[in-house]
């Protein structure tokens, strides 16, 4: 199913590309690639520019800083930002996950409190789900929300999240009660991060962007900070997580690496390149099928899992293939004077392992398709 865009959507894509190709924007993106080790970008001028135009969260209503467009325009923006090398985690965490969750499940007050700032690129948010002992099995999380009058105090440790150091607040999953099944008793909170009772520490990793260890040491939250219903966070999670799993970010990353690979590959690699190109094209089609499902109000979890698995595995394959085909010069960091393609291969290789883990690991997608689509016993 080839994505069919309206002339207006094609026009929007062109406008986005024009903006992202402006000298200033390109210079800012290049600066991000060569930041001193240990530093990384948060919200950039380009986010604020896009925000001012109402494009950053273009599918949200105007009153919340968007432009009332559809998810297709939003996906066009995401695709082009990644194709043009704009660091994407701040955007995907703040807008696609946390912002979207508030947009869909937040109270009027929460929408007014958070969405305009997010949409304008003035504030951002991150996601506090994983814990040291809790990864794939999120339902077994142990961070506690202890009652404190008509409030709660959050206690626990959240790890492997990103951008906490740049975020004003976080979407945090915590346990408000314990019942016979793990899924029940989880509540989602919107937690201010720059407060007493929250400690953010870096957990260095091989990629350009650090993980954070966030210790929640009794920060106080109230009913107005609960997203959805108390004890019913699992329902919200079940709806929000598949929404960001279109695979579009992964297919756009794969396209970007592949474009550079085509430019730098030596003669004789043609067949392998054709193989990769075909996979990347298929990944993009799967991703756009998910976007179309969302546009039509028919989200399909099997399609989402398929797109996430296929596109992330493809992006990882392209990243590793670049090393295989180009040799050591592909490994040069953007900061090295001899780097090729502005270091996209090295950064891509170091980012690659995370692609098939974050947002639902490959194994979890495979399990879902095996049991839900193929009907195999679980």
């Amino acid at each position: 199913m080839t994505p069919v865009f309206t002339p207006e959507q094609d026009g929007f894509r062109e406008e986005v590309c024009e903006l992202l190709c402006e000298d200033e924007v390109r210079a800012e993106i290049a600066r991000c690639r060569r930041m001193p080790y240990g530093e990384e970008s948060g919200l950039l001028d380009v986010h604020r520019r896009l925000g001012k135009l109402g494009w950053l969260a273009i599918n949200w209503p105007e009153r919340y800083g968007g432009a009332g467009a559809t998810i297709v325009e939003k996906a066009i923006l995401t695709e082009e930002m990644i194709r043009h090398g704009v660091p994407d985690n701040v955007h995907s965490l703040g807008i696609d996950i946390v912002g979207n969750a508030i947009h869909l499940f937040g109270t009027q007050e929460q929408k007014e409190r958070f969405l305009p700032g997010l949409a304008r690129g003035e504030i951002t948010a991150n996601v506090l789900f994983s814990e040291p002992d809790v990864g794939s099995d999120l339902a077994s999380l142990s961070t506690r929300a202890e009652p404190d009058g008509d409030h709660w105090r959050l206690r626990g440790r959240k790890i492997y999240n990103m951008k906490a150091q740049h975020s004003e607040f976080a979407l945090c999953a915590a346990r408000t009660s314990r019942g016979p099944v793990n899924y029940a008793g989880i509540t989602l909170f919107l937690v201010p991060l720059r407060s007493m009772g929250v400690v953010v520490e870096p957990v260095w990793n091989l990629s350009e962007e650090r993980f954070d260890l966030v210790t929640l040491d009794g920060i106080r939250v109230g009913r107005e900070d609960v997203l959805g219903e108390v004890d019913d966070g699992w329902q919200v999670l079940g709806k929000v997580l598949p929404l960001e799993r279109t695979g579009l970010d992964h297919s756009a990353k794969a396209e970007r690496t592949l474009a550079a690979l085509r430019e730098h590959a030596l003669p004789g690699c043609g067949q392998r390149l054709v193989q990769l190109e075909t996979r990347v094209r298929a990944a993009r089609l799967l991703a756009w099928r998910c976007v179309a499902n969302l546009r039509d109000g028919r989200p399909d979890e099997v399609h989402s899992a398929t797109a996430k698995w296929y596109a992330s595995e493809t992006a990882k394959e392209v990243a590793v293939a670049a090393v295989e085909l180009l040799g050591p010069r592909a490994l040069l960091d953007a900061r090295d004077p001899a780097a090729i393609a502005e270091g996209v291969f090295d950064a891509g290789f170091r980012e690659a392992p995370g692609l098939t883990l974050a947002q639902g690991s490959s194994e979890i997608m495979l399990f879902f398709v095996a049991t839900s689509a193929l009907g195999l016993p679980s």
Partner: protein, 317 residues
């Protein structure tokens, strides 16, 4: 004798030294860039290895596999190759870096000028064995490392190791070494050793993944108890077994390029899967999974990309 020597070296790497060895050429980035400790450990390991007569080993393939399994990073493999081309007496126990490329260079009045990419441990060796193509075809020259005509720059790259771009600008030749045919034979040996190194590295990465799969619990059981990861690990183990037999086969040098290409694919696949099994924890700087992944990337293409090696192997028929 040989087996004993390898066992003694294995023992040398055991215990407390192993974690230091694994990180001996891994320069931290965000955590601070000083490599003083790394250099010290590398010097100590060199002393230890030469003291155990690693340079005189007759089972260099077994030795290379052992080096890969502890993620040894240093000039030993290059030195072993250089010693096949330069009389050992000229070198003593000194470390040598290979800087050979089938690329043009200038030789004039007993001095050479060339630029060589991805030379390992250039800042810590006593000699370079430089190769280049002139009017007389490929030639090799031994040069002293301390000469002021030599300049170098360390690369910033994925493995964060000791790879350098080295410029020789009229560097005097201490000795001419080996013919093109001798180089071809030495290169075949170097490739088989590199393949063995990658097999050792892959095995160590797999062991790391298996240990994690045994101990990390999700959904009430170890993740290795789920058949998805378990079967994948078993499959990798069998691939390692097969490739190990290939590289230790007495005829391996006859298929050196193809063997190395196979080991190269193996190392990237195993380390990529090791990352997956380890989950986000494997990405942490303090976790060895990412170390295997980054080093496999560099070591698996250091002596040629698998594509090029296979083409060469095919065309040589």
């Amino acid at each position: 004798m040989t087996a004993e020597k390898t066992t003694a070296i294995a023992r040398f790497f055991d215990g407390d030294l192993a974690p230091l060895v694994r990180r001996m050429a891994d320069r931290p980035r965000a955590e601070g860039g000083d490599d003083g400790d790394g250099r010290e450990v590398r010097a100590m390991v060199w002393e230890g290895l030469t003291g155990l007569d690693a340079l005189g080993s007759s089972d260099t393939v077994g030795l290379a596999e052992l080096l890969g399994s502890v993620l040894y990073q240093g000039p030993l493999l290059d030195t072993l190759t250089a010693r096949e081309l330069v009389p050992g007496d000229d070198l003593g126990r000194a470390p040598v870096a290979l800087a050979v490329a089938e690329e043009p260079w200038t030789e004039r009045d007993g001095a050479i000028s060339a630029r060589r990419a991805f030379v390992g441990f250039a800042a810590e060796v006593d000699h370079f064995l430089v190769g280049g193509v002139g009017d007389a075809g490929l030639r090799l020259a031994l040069v002293g490392a301390g000469h002021p005509s030599i300049t170098m720059r360390r690369y910033e790259e994925t493995s964060r190791g000791e790879a350098y771009e080295v410029e020789f600008a009229g560097t005097p030749v201490a000795a001419w070494a080996g013919s093109a045919a001798e180089w071809a034979a030495a290169l075949a040996g170097a490739r088989v050793r590199q393949a063995a190194y990658l097999v050792g590295l892959a095995q160590a990465a797999l062991d790391h993944a298996v240990e994690h799969a045994r101990t990390r619990r999700q959904f009430g059981r170890p993740v290795g108890g789920f058949q998805g990861p378990a079967f994948r690990l078993a499959e990798l183990s069998m691939h390692i077994d097969a490739t190990r037999l290939l590289v230790h086969d007495p005829g391996a040098a006859g298929h050196a390029a193809a063997c190395l290409a196979a080991a190269s694919d193996l190392a990237r696949t195993v380390t990529t899967q090791t990352m997956q099994v380890n989950g986000a924890a494997g990405m942490r700087s303090d976790n060895d999974a990412q170390l295997y992944y980054r080093w496999a990337a560099f070591e698996s293409v250091r002596l040629g990309t698998p594509d090029r090696l296979r083409r060469e192997s095919w065309e040589a028929r």
